[in-house]
């Protein structure tokens, strides 16, 4: 079970890290100073969570690896983040829609992870829960603002929601690892998480006057290390320094 728990914790770290990386790409490029800082703050929260997960995974593993080894020295197939988190910053509407979908899942997920049998994991969840409460508040407000804003903001948000829709379901698709750890009392029941997340998404889309596509089909694979074409580019940016100058330090 320890092996599976480590794998699971690293996967949680991967979600936070890859989404955090996507947001960090916007540092200095936000549409306004205030929004630039807001997105960077969220990115920093996510990287803080990543460090907590990776540090814990390294300790559990006990093979002398560090958080940096998990971030910089794994190859693409070893990353278990959901495909949604790696989707690009096509425009501000995509950034907000991606964030909103992820936050809608992330908050009820963490709320339940707080009850994990593993105390350390529960503590990480409790700390992250406060941060993500704000993330969801931020992205929800922006969904309403863009949806109810101008014709252009509405149509851009509608496009982003339609395009990203097929990546949403993966977040609550249960893999064997999810089921196993849930049954053992370590991980949340994704069916419950999905129920709460879907209800919130539905409410906000209605308020933002955005049509959700009918489809319930979803891409999958991210959790098992099979990624979209964007992931390789992310890792080549992200890991370039360590790959070029192995073991370099700041």
């Amino acid at each position: 079970m320890k092996e599976q728990l480590i794998q699971y914790i690293v996967r949680l770290g991967d979600d936070s890290m890859i989404l955090g990386h996507r947001l960090s790409e916007l540092c200095g490029h936000g549409p306004a100073l205030e929004i630039d800082m807001a997105l960077t703050n969220i990115s920093l929260d996510l990287f803080g969570q990543t460090r907590n997960y990776f540090t814990y995974a390294a300790e559990l593993e006990g093979k002398g690896r560090t958080e940096d080894d998990f971030a910089y020295k794994r190859d693409i197939r070893e990353f278990g983040n959901v495909l949604l988190t790696e989707q690009p910053n096509d425009d501000f509407a995509y950034v907000i829609a991606r964030q909103f979908f992820f936050d809608s899942y992330h908050l009820p997920f963490l709320e339940r992870l707080k009850n994990s049998k593993d105390e350390r994991l529960a503590a990480i969840a409790a700390k992250s829960f406060k941060e993500v409460s704000y993330h969801l508040r931020f992205s929800t407000e922006w969904m309403k603002r863009l949806g109810g804003g101008t014709d252009e903001s509405h149509s851009r948000l509608q496009t982003a929601v339609t395009d990203l829709w097929d990546y949403v379901g993966e977040m609550w698709q249960e893999t064997d690892l999810d089921k196993e750890l849930n049954q053992a009392g370590f991980a949340p029941d994704l069916k419950e998480v999905a129920k709460e997340a879907k209800a919130h998404i539905q409410d906000v889309l209605a308020e933002a006057n955005i049509q959700a596509p009918d489809s319930t089909w979803s891409h999958s694979g991210g959790k098992k290390g099979i990624h979209s074409e964007h992931m390789g580019f992310i890792l080549s940016d992200f890991q370039w320094m360590q790959r070029t100058y192995p073991n370099m330090e700041w």
Binding site: L33, E34, I35, M37, A38, E141
Partner: protein, 93 residues
Amino acid sequence: MKNWPLWEVFIRSKNGLSHKHVGSLHATDEVMAMENARDVYTRRMEGVSIWVVKSEYITASNPEEAGELFEPAQDKVYRHPTFYDLPDELKHI
């Protein structure tokens, strides 16, 4: 974005103290102003409470009137409560 109204931000650094002006920002409405204030001005644990006020609702004194407004107070030191001998037993005053 240039059309977004300007807001003034006031932060209370801890309970018991009063809110203090820390700067301004742009936002379309009060919800966004509050979020922006949180994101721009409280990143380093600066506060426990935020007020945001639309700048247009602030009436400011005219610098040109500084003479008549503030100078008359300059020679009235007796308004400071510094002319009393306090007993040593009194603390925290």
